[in-house]
Symmetry: C2
């Protein structure tokens, strides 16, 4: 039986992720993939897992396997309140924290409670694809905020907020996916002031800030305007993405609806996974393990920068983030990175053409996202060199 | 800041679950609760957990902690295909199985892909509250199917299907929540025939069929009309609800959309939890542990039946399921079980007034759901006796 005629209208607005096809290609044997957004497998604290499990079973027993509150597992909420409170210099209480099934689960919940069909939300151009996928079934219109080396400009944001037509703003201010860019502190303060001035709501998605390889930590926009921000975090990059543990801290009225919405979606996030995350935080495991994660990524990122300097034409630009997982590449106007992609794949190098991260079709054709987390330094070097080669050849063909 | 003016229209249709308040009351110290729908903590295979975890880490290593496919963890899908295939006498392939974050996650996904605002879906009256909560944000209209001791009557169903106005039918045919009732095999066959005749889609929610204390297993409606049924199952009652592992087997067109929808909701279900469930199935743990679960519930159910016989007026009726977690109580017309509830709580006995399980306000005022899974036999006996007492007193007051 074909039930296609039963499809709800909202799903007609949703594409199966084009990037999924790219990730399938990237997973082929022999491929060096700069495409994925996955943490390196050797960054997982696999060895301490039996100890963590033992602690969870000893400390919580049956409770770790039982139904629990939609809001989240008490000990994890408490641990996160302390962790985020200290990190951001804020007074965060246990009740402020809501756990979700990955930050994706939080973004879906926010889409559900905020977006009526046709409502506008402001996003960076380019922006995180997962957020677009979370919001899409709720049928928003997007207002794209132009971005530069410093991310979103406060002026561009103010122009939009002034009109009062957006329900909320979605930003990844630190080591953004896909660009790797970080909004500097002075601009964050301006953004925070604008949120307060215009009574606006920001969804601040912050999966990467702990992955800093050099430079000074930058405070979140949340820390500057806590009443106007839903701060979204995740354990995916500092513990294990397979556990699907995300969280948010939000204004009380937002949290109340989020709980109601998320109760319908999955009742609650895995108690066992949350208990593991709680022990990971409170037992000092994160503090001990994070330097190991950074020690894997920092040299990989450095290898990528070196190879880009060596192998790429001088008129190419790329972001130089102090952390995160991505480097954003921009070629000369008029070039088509999807064509480069096809040629690169034929030579066993995969990446993601940047145009996929723009909502407006055809934008960012000359851009690409390169991830440095999974291949080792040698493979990164080799892949970037091949990519430089492919690009020169492509340009020759185009001009020829 | 108050952001109430930002609330999406769809959420205005969603109530925070009234039953949540009841469950809070039921959790008070000294309360004997016949209210919850939770498995008994001593039914969890806590002792084998370290062994399961060890197997998962040895067998899958990093893979158990990494991002995975939205469709589900391969080894679990494979194990479920074999398990359901054997249970239902069907040829189920790995690709047919989709994993979700609890059956709640599947129901939310089905609501999302099927229900446009105002679409009708047919449900049992009374029905499972979690399904109502999953569907509510998608703003359906409900067509209530009258139920009797044998569940939904095929005639009532045909009357609705004939009009062709419902997008799908949602049933819990075995040991239903809240009634405990099971649709007998002859009526299932009629329902299956109707689905085929009218090209209709059934969501068959089957969380309880493994909890059978006596009598013969009844085949699923899915086994009789696999092309017309989304069969939804869960590990919550046979393993651990805190892991949030549900699954479905569905027609290919439905599955394709479900994958797209669920990708936006949580990317995928916890890989680690799925790996534990896979080992639980394939390692023979379920086969060895299930008899232990049944040995806990069977005497509790028997104790409830005995106490009802002893303590209740002869004109009360209750369901006599051969399994599951619930008994459905029906008093004389005109009585108000919410008033009985208030009096019972004052005497430290909690249950759920049946009216909460009806979509139409005011229906089922004389009914109640009693759960026998968590208190031991002595407490069940005591609680039911107290309840009988409270009811006699209530009736005296009403007639006085």
């Amino acid at each position: 039986m074909d039930f296609d005629q039963l499809l709800a209208d909202r799903m007609r607005a949703v594409d199966a992720s084009a990037i999924r096809e790219i990730l399938k290609v990237a997973a082929r044997p022999k491929m060096i993939s700069l495409a994925g957004g996955m943490p390196a497998p050797d960054s997982f604290p696999l060895r301490i897992f039996p100890e963590l499990v033992d602690k969870v079973l000893t400390t919580y027993g049956h409770r770790a396997l039982q139904y629990d509150l939609t809001e989240g597992f008490g000990p994890l909420r408490e641990a996160l309140a302390a962790y985020i409170g200290e990190k951001e210099g804020l007074d965060v209480s246990t009740g402020d924290v809501l756990i979700g099934s990955g930050s994706q689960g939080i973004l879906d919940g926010l889409g559900k409670i905020l977006i009526s069909r046709g409502d506008s939300i402001a996003i960076e151009a380019p922006t995180y694809l997962g957020a677009i996928q979370a919001f899409a079934p709720y049928q928003p219109n997007y207002v794209s905020l132009q971005t530069g080396d410093d991310g979103v400009s406060p002026d561009a944001l103010e122009a939009v907020l002034k009109q009062g037509r957006v329900k909320c703003v979605y930003l990844v201010p630190t080591f953004q996916n896909p660009t790797g860019r970080t909004i500097p502190i002075s601009l964050r303060q301006k953004i925070a002031d604008l949120l307060i001035k215009y009574h606006a709501l920001l969804i601040e998605d912050d999966p990467y800030s702990a992955l800093r390889y050099r430079g000074e930590a930058v405070p979140s926009i949340f820390s500057m305007a806590p009443d106007n921000v839903v701060y979204v975090g995740t354990f995916s990059k500092i513990f294990a993405p397979g556990l699907r543990i995300g969280f948010c801290i939000s204004p009380p009225s937002i949290r109340k609806w989020l709980v109601t919405a998320r109760q319908g979606v999955d009742l609650h996030t895995s108690t066992f996974g949350q208990a593991l995350a709680a022990e990971y935080l409170t037992g000092g495991y994160l503090d001990r393990h994070l330097p190991h994660i950074l020690s894997i990524y920092a040299p990989r990122q450095a290898a990528m920068f070196r190879a880009l300097e060596d192998a790429f034409p001088p008129y190419f630009h790329w972001s130089r983030p102090e952390g995160g997982m991505f480097v954003w590449l921009r070629g000369p106007e008029g070039m088509d990175m999807t064509q480069v992609y096809a040629r690169a794949v034929a030579r066993n190098v995969a990446f993601v053409p940047g145009t996929f991260f723009f909502v407006r079709k055809g934008d960012g054709m000359e851009t690409a996202r390169l991830s440095f987390t999974c291949p080792d330094e040698k493979d990164i070097s080799r892949a970037v060199t091949t990519l430089g080669d492919v690009i020169r050849q492509y340009e020759k063909e185009m001009s020829g």
